[in-house]
């Protein structure tokens, strides 16, 4: 039984983003985003019977979210594999809807990490075999991967910087982006080094923010307010938790999650109009373009170089400005989905990619650990 086009995202919304101010809790942002997403879909809270959430704040997130919102789900899934979790939740929600275990699923997330501390809130435990060496979590893990990619394939700091510049160019077109001022390759390279070869502008933002997405059956989706974004394909994979256990630091498990999603969708990378990749660090975009088949392994640096993933370039990547320039509230996966849905609906204003009917969303979690790919399509793609 294929999940292809069995379910669709029918409502999406962000909470307030950026810096929401003292006193607000992550649950407050989830409440705000959920209210907006229900309005977006034309659904009532009472319609929701499936609940999906992950959190670095709440040990039992679907319980906390369900209690706060007054939702009593008959299907509850708090899968946590880091920032990719929400793309996984979409996959799992579609599976549950397909199997008849729920009809309207809410995927929700919130974080107040910027207002609370200005630092990444992470529940990650240290591996005893890594802790003595004091890697900075998670940036040092990504820096190790970047060092290896540079060694094997000649990828340069300039090419990594171009990822950040492309994200910034998209962010300039998005009024909700947290940083929208000019950025050059030199600015990135000259910025404060954090964990070489990654400097502070190779790293994602630390912002507040949250989101909500509503998923229902394709049949019910057609009766709702907005054009459905159908889930055509999904795949997930993970091979390690800790960076010292990653088999090959230049190839992530996206090399498996991507083909799984393509196979279900009966589509390939060449079909995608918009590509949303989890860019916690500049190296991510390079690795995922390779692992998801947009270019050959090792060719990610040249692929992005020369404004090829900037507005007006060859491939529309991270059109909201990404985790690098739009927002990154600790876990970012849900915001990837929201942007993809809006691109499919044609709601993206200045940054709208013309004739978008297919969008690939790729979530990453941990330290290049969990990889989840989803392919969304408009009515025309069915």
């Amino acid at each position: 039984m294929s999940l292809r086009a069995g379910a669709a995202i029918v409502g999406v919304a962000e909470s307030d983003l950026g810096e929401v101010g003292p006193g607000f809790t992550p649950l407050d942002l989830i409440g705000q985003a959920t209210s907006r997403a229900l309005d977006d879909a034309g659904l009532e809270k009472v319609d929701v019977d499936g609940l999906f959430s992950a959190s670095a704040y709440y040990h039992m997130p679907t319980l906390s979210v369900g209690e706060y919102l007054g939702i009593r789900p008959r299907y509850s899934d708090a899968t946590n594999m880091g920032g990719s979790s929400f793309v996984s939740h979409l996959f799992h929600a579609a599976s549950a809807i397909n199997a008849g275990f729920c009809e309207v699923a809410l995927i929700a997330y919130g974080s107040t990490q910027r207002s609370a501390s200005g630092r990444l809130v992470s529940g990650s435990e240290a591996l005893p075999y890594e802790a003595p060496y004091k890697p900075r979590y998670p940036v040092s893990a990504y820096a190790l991967a970047a060092s290896r990619h540079m060694h094997e394939y000649g990828t340069t700091r300039e090419q990594l910087a171009e990822v950040a510049v492309a994200a910034r160019e998209w962010a300039k077109l998005n009024p909700k982006a947290f940083v929208r001022d000019d950025l050059s390759v030199e600015d990135v390279i000259d910025s404060r080094m954090v964990s070489s070869p990654l400097s502070i502008l190779d790293c994602c933002l630390v912002t507040d923010g949250g989101g909500a997405a509503l998923v229902t059956s394709a049949e019910r989706a057609r009766d709702l307010a907005k054009a459905p974004a159908y889930l055509l394909g999904a795949g997930e994979a993970h091979w390690h938790r800790n960076i010292s256990q990653m088999p090959d630091l230049t190839t992530s498990a996206a090399a498996e999650s991507g083909p799984r999603a393509y196979e279900m969708a009966r589509l390939g990378p060449e079909d995608m109009d918009v590509v949303m990749l989890y860019d916690a660090f500049t190296i991510n975009t390079v690795l995922f373009l390779e692992d998801l088949g947009f270019c050959e392994k090792g060719e990610g640096g040249p692929f992005i170089s020369g404004d090829r993933i900037s507005p007006g370039g060859e491939l529309a990547v991270n059109t909201n400005g990404g985790g690098l320039s739009y927002n990154h509230p600790g876990m970012y996966g849900l915001l990837l989905l929201i942007e993809a849905v809006r691109q499919l609906r044609g709601e993206c204003g200045e940054r709208q990619v013309a004739d978008t009917n297919l969008a690939l969303v790729h979530g990453n979690g941990g330290v290049l650990s969990s990889q989840v790919t989803a392919i969304l399509g408009s009515e025309e793609t069915l």
């Binding site: 060496y133 890697p135 900075r136 190790l144 080094m193 954090v194 964990s195 070489s196 010292s244």
Partner: protein, 131 residues
């Protein structure tokens, strides 16, 4: 003689006991002969529960490296080292400025005591000038 994995104690404790003697211990799977690190109770390659502890010769190559920067002190190195026996571990390369640690550099195991605990580190192997 090969030792039974459970009989010799908790994997983390056996590893530590090797370090306390100045040695780098790792497990060798009796099923598939893979070198296993970090130590466990089941082979992540073949699923066998039968291991032997072995002592590494300590020779390795830097697989990946980063220098972690601080606002108030000098940067420190974090590296992944591939040991000649076929396992990889996180460690630190000492005896060379952090930005001079390179992928592919040949290194050798040494033990340091930190906060009362032994830790495995690596130092560059001096070039002999031959070959």
């Amino acid at each position: 003689m090969a030792e039974d994995v459970a009989a010799v104690g908790a994997p983390a404790e056996v590893y530590r006991s090797y370090l306390k003697k100045g040695k780098l211990g790792f497990q060798r799977c009796r099923g598939c002969r893979s070198a296993i690190f970090y130590p466990r109770m089941l082979c992540p390659v073949c699923g066998s529960a039968s291991f032997a502890w072995e002592e590494s010769g300590g020779g390795g190559t830097v697989y990946a490296t980063t220098a972690v920067y601080h606002r108030d002190r000098e940067p420190h190195n974090v590296a992944l080292v591939d040991l000649e026996e076929g396992f990889r571990m996180m460690s630190r390369i000492e005896g060379v400025p952090v930005e001079e640690v390179e992928v592919g550099m040949e290194v050798a195991f040494a033990v340091r005591e930190e906060d009362g605990e032994p830790a495995a580190v690596f130092v560059p192997v001096a070039k002999t000038g031959e070959g």
